[in-house]
Subunit: 267 residues, 2 copies
């Protein structure tokens, strides 16, 4: 039986401190956040992010043993009961492993931008955590250098964002609370600024130079002030009437086209 | 105050019958399902599907009035209290309108296929309702003729599927419980069979002839037996290590390429 795991049970005190991390203000105060799932934790442990602790559900040890065992002598591992684990988990059928991660100091925006190697995703007021996680996951797949978020976005350390990014947050830079108008003024000339628009625009296509894709929220799209900064607007052909393509899908298609451009040009 | 809406309050008896529809077996028995949200109901009312009733949350009347008012003399509309509505709703912040929809008899697969005008999406054992809804929404956007589901898929009349399809289910044919091996044998020669594969394959590209895209579940992908039926395998370039692209995003990119082919060829 897997229940007699050799990892110590977590104290109620510790569990209370981790439960705080479900709320943005406590994540900010404590400088910690939660990262759930085998693949997510795998990406975390392979990155230079600092893992404070690993929380496991003993009955699921067959799922998480492979990622936890190799680090168990450097990283504290705590066993949780099923109800304790479920309180912290985002999943209906959890993998049984959650990491407590120490936040990193974000880099200075302008010096980071000067060195950014790949294209950028610039997102305005994304409030749905699953959507933001999906955007980060796709950006990671397509070799984007980073994701830049405006103010009034969902906190990117929200456990659902981390979960649905599938660990993408540990492989790329995420900047938040950025003044996008100032940023775009800064990027112009260095990046091709592409605005995503559901109403009108040319069809997405490979682009030769370094590009930044601007996307808005699922419900509101990009505000006019930001769309006006774009050198070109893209609209994905298709649809009739009230139909629309969902934000994560539309953005994935556009990032795909941008990365095709870079491959075509052998960058 | 919007609470004194002129729509009658629903009886407890009716509410009980609608609550049954949250479960697949009762949807099957009763031949009814639920469709939530303003855009979804808009697509429904613009289609040839039969609406049995509209359930509304009076306090949200500013959101739903525009779709409900034009049909209120042909369709029964019932007011629900907030707790009653929340029990039926899939949304954290509901639009305040849910339709009770009468199921249609599915068409005969082989005669439907003989006349299918666009490409097809063929999906194996998709169990996540949000993923299935997203697939249907994208297929709709890209002008696919239909979505064909294997046995052991989530019931496509699941309220979360309908919700996340954004009403796409009312604009295209969805066939379910189909024996995919037999189907693919049937399609060969008439459709270019494209298998989605995360391990290897050529990059997606426009295709001139009528095509069918085969996708598997997020966790397992396509089984070998189905992949072997494909004339060509597609893999989206990108990613390193344990990374992956999520199913709805990968499928959207592939459907996009297929529909580009049809546009390029002026079909």
């Amino acid at each position: 039986m897997s229940m007699d795991s050799d990892h110590p049970r977590a104290s109620q005190n510790r569990i209370k401190r981790w439960t705080r991390l479900l709320e943005a203000k406590f994540r900010r105060e404590d400088g910690l956040f939660l990262a759930e799932g085998v693949k997510v934790v795998e990406e975390l442990l392979g990155s230079d992010w600092q893992t404070e602790a690993l929380l496991v559900l003993p009955e699921k040890n067959l799922r998480w043993e492979g990622v936890v065992a190799p680090v168990a002598d450097q990283t504290p591992v705590y066993s949780l009961s099923r109800p304790e684990f479920k309180k912290l988990s985002q999943d209906k059928e959890p993998d049984g492993v959650i990491a407590v991660v120490r936040k990193k100091e974000p880099p200075d925006v302008s010096s980071w931008l000067a060195e950014a190697a790949g294209p950028l995703l610039v997102a305005h007021e994304i409030t749905n955590p699953q959507n933001l996680g999906a955007l980060i996951r796709s950006a990671c797949w397509f070799g984007f250098a980073g994701v830049i978020l405006s103010a009034n976005s969902v906190d990117w350390t929200h456990p659902k964002v981390i979960r649905s990014s599938m660990g993408g947050v540990f492989k790329m830079t995420v900047l938040t609370g950025v003044d996008l108008l100032a940023l775009l003024a800064d990027l112009r000339g260095k990046f091709l600024l592409v605005g995503s628009d559901v109403r009108k625009g040319v069809a997405p296509h490979p682009v030769a130079k370094k590009a930044a894709l601007l996307v808005g929220s699922e419900s509101h799209g990009l505000p006019a002030s930001l769309l006006e900064c774009a050198a070109v607007r893209w609209r994905i052909p298709g649809g009739t009437g009230a139909e629309s393509l969902s934000l994560p899908q539309a953005a994935a298609i556009m990032m795909y086209e941008m990365s095709r451009g870079r491959m075509v040009n052998g960058e």
